[in-house]
């Protein structure tokens, strides 16, 4: 392992009825709340009513900011910051999925900084202070409810960037599976792919002696594979929603990345694809991860074979590395296809037209990734194989 610090101060409030915990948690931080949410889903499923009734009963002053975008925008972050200042907000309560929580992190850090919040998002200025954040999660996917990271889009600059800080971990997160029951089929599938991809990005690390972290990653993958088929068959399966919610949180709360240099190349490539074509993140990952595995498997097959044996139950005896990598990739692709995820860029009618542009955009540095560092020609090849 590499030397590391692990510190995750977020309090999880997990299970049916945990919304009531807001009564004890919110007053720790004050009585002026910015209620942040996205589109209409929390109005459709009744959560909006529940939250606002509870806040009213608590006699908390509430300022609302709705309409946070699926890829939260800098302009929305700025609107939130202005509201915080205008109304002397004590706490941001993000009710929604990863986008709403990410937006809350941008507002929380930006409100304590005098300049343009984009300076923080682009890491030109470090986060030195932030407003407290609480969350009520409605979608198992990004893990943002228990980490300090956020992705913010600058629409004018056509740029999407991520930042993170120990100061932007939510103070508390309410995880009641009830509020995820109404997530539609396609979003559910994207969430499954996203969670499994978060595991892969950390499982394919470039460090030594991370036995426990790898096995923890395999645990999440196995649990997701047991649960996902049941869930896509019956979106109202409470137990499956509950399992997925806990898995999503632990897939990206720092447990898997303790002491290892994580990869994340596939996320960079996917961000480039969805910046050019505006496809769903989870859909992009389902297409790209198998091709990434095939490509890096040529130079570094060992952990892919371990994945195949331990997670997909592939018998490794008497087979070449090449065969084992291919069997593993096919098993993953078949699994994702079986739950309704896409497998080719052509499923989104993406052809080779902008392939080089996407490859170029993915290159946030000379090389990306750690398990096998990739240059632009490698990324082009992966994209080509994914057409």
């Amino acid at each position: 392992m590499e030397r590391f610090q692990y510190h995750n101060p977020t309090k999880l409030l997990f299970g049916k009825g945990q919304l009531e915990s807001l009564r004890t948690e919110i007053p720790r931080y004050g009585d002026r709340v910015l209620l942040l949410y996205g589109g209409g889903s929390i109005k459709a499923n009744g959560l909006y009513e529940e939250v606002t009734a509870l806040l009213a009963d608590m006699q908390v002053t509430v300022v609302e900011l709705s309409g946070v975008e699926p890829n939260p925008r800098l302009t929305t972050v700025q609107t939130g910051i202005d509201l915080v200042h205008e109304h002397q907000i004590d706490l941001i309560l993000a009710v929604g999925g990863g986008s709403v929580i990410d937006c809350a992190k941008g507002i929380a850090a930006g409100a304590k900084y005098d300049g343009n919040p984009w300076d923080i998002v682009t890491r030109q200025v470090p986060v030195t202070d932030a407003l407290p954040i609480g969350t009520v999660l409605t979608l198992a996917a990004t893990g943002s409810e228990m980490n300090g990271g956020a992705v913010i889009t600058n629409w004018e600059a056509q740029d999407k960037r991520s930042f993170g800080s120990p100061l932007t971990y939510p103070k508390f997160s309410v995880l009641d599976p009830t509020y995820t029951l109404s997530v539609p089929a396609n979003q559910t599938v994207y969430g499954i792919v996203d969670i499994m991809s978060h595991v892969f990005e950390q499982y394919f690390h470039a460090s030594e002696n991370a036995l426990l972290q790898e096995r923890f990653g395999e645990s999440i993958l196995r649990t997701m594979m047991e649960t996902a088929p049941r869930l896509v068959q019956n979106l109202n399966d409470f137990d499956a929603r509950e399992t997925m919610l806990l898995n999503g949180t632990f897939a990206l709360n720092g447990t898997l990345s303790m002491g290892v240099k994580t990869d994340w190349a596939t996320h960079m490539i996917e961000h480039a694809v969805s910046a050019v074509y505006d496809i769903p993140h989870g859909g992009g990952l389902a297409i790209l991860f198998p091709e990434w595995l095939r490509y890096v498997g040529k130079t570094r097959p060992e952990r892919i074979i371990q994945l195949g044996e331990r997670v997909f139950g592939i018998d490794v005896n008497g087979k070449s590395d090449e065969v084992l990598v291919e069997e593993t990739v096919q098993a993953l692709q078949e699994f994702w296809t079986s739950i309704g995820a896409p497998s080719r860029l052509s499923d989104y009618e993406i052809d080779a037209t902008h392939l080089e542009l996407m490859a170029e955009r993915a290159m946030v540095a000379e090389q990306i990734g750690q398990y096998v560092p990739l240059r632009q020609q490698d990324v082009s090849a992966i994209l080509k194989n994914a057409l």
Copy 2:
């Protein structure tokens, strides 16, 4: 799952050279430190020199309390409390294993309470405040470095009790495998058994739908089984020490017990045995756990079979539950014997003389345990089978 809160605020500072982090961590809490440690081991391995030199260089005021017992005593806790008051201590720095850290928790909570600290240990009085604690861990075993629990012995009352509080989690814990290299063979084996037993106590829970928690437990068990044989062959194996250290922490930091009713009957039985015969805790667990499994396997075999299949690689096809439980128990017993752990009470020259006394002492309630609740006659039977 049951409804749960998960909140673990301890900052882990893991890896070689992390002692230097004391320079940034200690000043957050003040400049008057109670340095708490046990016997001579940290003097023998040079850690005492390193810590005191660093504290001197930091110009921190240090008050020392040494001689914390392997089962830390209430009298030592009281001595520590008196020192805290006399010297207006800001932070307790516990350098040692679980006993030293547990003692620090007793002092930390007791120093903020006007009455007898035994009131806190026996849970007659809740912890409402506590001094901050930092730790430098020297033994992978109890997990006390990342949880709020402590076991304190009242020698006069011949009573050993445990308490826990969100306020007694260490603020930070330095985990440098270097300081565990000098742990002798027997202590290393007891640590391995203790860590695996902590997993069992939570793996054998009485709740539904805890797929991820069970797989996380299996991850720790598999990792320990891969690592332990290497380690007992070569106590200086740094990578194996590193792995064991991280496993010990995660075996009892709240991750495995999220949303489940955990068992802990075997620990209660072992505490009764070692209260009467003063045998090592890890040795007692190695003897008792297999017999507990055999006994509860008669009424509830399912999770034992799951353990056998997933952790010990037992082929479950075409075998009766009875056979599968027995194969699993034997596999565990053989593994523990292979690394040098005892397997019978007679290994400690314990016979049936005080069997009923031990069974009686184990009964802290009408029934103990959750996976299969046990009455006194059940405990007697388990002890008899372990002779």
